[in-house]
């Protein structure tokens, strides 16, 4: 079976969890509060079931075909890897901002990203980072007195959940 078709099927099945959660949660609320959520989540579940069924049929159909080109599968693997890399970068940036604040975190992220992914020299990377962060600092902190997040390590308020 073509990997990406299976992947899609899996995703669609998992997606059912979302409206299902809303449906179950909504049942515990008062009349008016649950009216629309129940209605919408039921409709979404039904529609999504149809999507799952049609995806399954397509998957079953495609497994009967000759494995045309295997170029699909490595491409999917490659894509998933790339997605995970960029998400990891994004999370790294977030963690940096959370602990050392926006300015420092951006500096660190920007410089390391340019150096590692855009393959610039570390000098250009650092320079670029300083320019961008400098712009943000100048505009927001100097001109507008807008406090940017200073990071948990530097005494920023812990966000409330």
């Amino acid at each position: 079976m073509k990997a990406h078709v299976v992947g899609r099927l899996l995703f669609n099945v998992l997606l059912l969890g979302f409206p299902a959660y809303f449906f179950c949660d909504a049942l515990g609320y008062s009349d008016r509060a649950r009216l629309i959520p129940v209605l919408i989540s039921v409709v979404v579940i039904l529609l999504q079931l149809t999507v799952v069924v049609s995806d399954y049929l397509e998957a079953a159909r495609s497994s009967g075909e000759i494995e045309s080109t295997s170029s699909e599968t490595p491409s999917l693997k490659r894509e998933s890897l790339q997605v995970m890399i960029i998400v990891a970068w994004t999370l790294f940036y977030f963690v940096a901002v959370y602990f050392v604040g926006f300015l420092l975190g951006s500096l660190v992220f920007f410089a390391t990203f340019l150096w590692s992914c855009a393959r610039t020299s570390w000098l250009t990377a650092l320079g670029g980072a300083l320019i961008l962060v400098g712009f943000v600092w100048g505009l927001f902190i100097k001109i507008l007195s807008f406090e940017l997040y200073s990071g948990v390590l530097f005494g920023a308020a812990r966000p409330l959940l």
């Binding site: 609320y29 008062s30 509060a33 007195s145 406090e147 308020a157 409330l160």
Partner: protein, 327 residues
């Protein structure tokens, strides 16, 4: 021997000029003023205007910086104030509309306790007005009592100040409390009243002023013991025979545990600012002059809060029922 004398003198000098606690140097840098609501709104403009007036008394260069910290109907900003360092460099405003949540959840889970704030003072106070649209058949609280169950009250949402005022009113009058709610702010609610979405609503006397002047809104009662000076022909709720206590106060507070000397300084700054002629001019021209009639200091603020909490506790059951926020 000489050395000993010099040493003693030095020690004595140092002893005399030993720096007392921070109060003599306070305030020596910028003070943050947390406003739990959006820029441009009622609390915000007050904070900015007051801040400017208070800055005049601060040492050169020290400013009052307004910070809008919005969310959860004012609770995010208030919680931030509650947790801030009690060194006098962070103060803020507290809106009474967050009290029901504390009563429903308990201070532990709510994250703040209105009983424990270090109150600085009441800088503005205005009575509620019960208003209807110009051509409404309701003419007085008597009509409201007669029509009782057929009436729809406009409020912003369960737990906030308009809702509290309306609940106390209907509670005291013994009539059912039907609401039309969900409005994002007073500026959405008033056109809704004029449009006929609901029959009457509580509105702050100062906010209603312009609409009363233009004839769009008709006040039928002022929820207070006295009449409201801007429209003295409207009888108070007391005159109409109902004893309704539901104040609207704008309170300034500091985090719990702020040293009393610092509170004294802040209270002084606040009361002085309220007498500032420039502030008065602003207040009068923007319609808020009526709110400064009876400014109160820290102790009076404390008393007002306690009374208010007592009255609100009376309706605890209704509040917990209306606010389904705990699982």
């Amino acid at each position: 021997m000489l050395a000993k004398i010099i040493l003693t003198v030095i020690v004595a000098l140092f002893g005399l000029s030993a720096p007392p606690s921070a109060q003599s140097q306070y305030p020596d840098k910028d003070i943050s003023w947390i406003v739990p609501f959006a820029a441009g709104g009622g609390y915000d403009v007050w904070a900015r205007a007051l801040g400017r007036a208070m800055e005049k008394e601060l040492p050169k260069g020290a400013k009052i910086v307004v910070k809008n910290v919005t969310g959860a109907g004012g609770r995010v900003g208030t919680t931030q104030l509650y947790r801030a360092k009690p060194d006098g460099y962070t103060i803020g405003m507290v809106d009474l509309g967050i009290l029901p949540f504390q009563i429903a959840m308990g201070p532990e889970k709510a994250g703040y306790d209105l009983n424990r704030f270090s109150w600085i003072g009441v800088f503005a106070e205005a009575p509620w007005t019960i208003a209807v649209k110009k051509d409404s058949p309701l003419k007085s609280l008597k009509d409201v009592k007669t029509q009782g169950a057929k009436l729809r009250w406009g409020v912003l949402g369960p737990g906030e100040t308009h809702w509290l005022a309306a609940m106390v009113t209907t509670g005291e009058m013994g009539i059912p409390f039907n609401i039309v709610s969900g409005y994002g702010g007073v500026s959405e609610m008033i056109p809704a009243l004029l449009r006929g979405d609901f029959d009457l609503c509580p509105v702050l006397s100062t906010s209603a002023l312009e609409y009363v002047k233009s004839g769009d809104l008709r006040p039928i009662a002022v929820l207070d013991d006295e009449r409201f000076p801007a429209y003295p022909e409207v009888p108070s709720s007391k005159e109409q025979g109902f004893n309704i206590f539901s104040p609207f106060v704008r309170l300034a507070a500091a985090p719990p545990g702020t040293p009393p000397q610092i509170i004294k300084v802040l209270e002084g700054l606040l009361l002085k600012a309220l007498k500032d002629p420039e502030l008065r001019k602003w207040a009068d021209s923007s319609g808020r002059g009526y709110e400064i009639v009876r400014p109160k200091g820290a102790d009076a603020a404390r008393t007002t809060m306690d009374e208010f909490i007592k009255v609100t506790q009376k309706y605890q059951k209704e509040m917990s029922a209306a606010l389904q926020v705990s699982k």
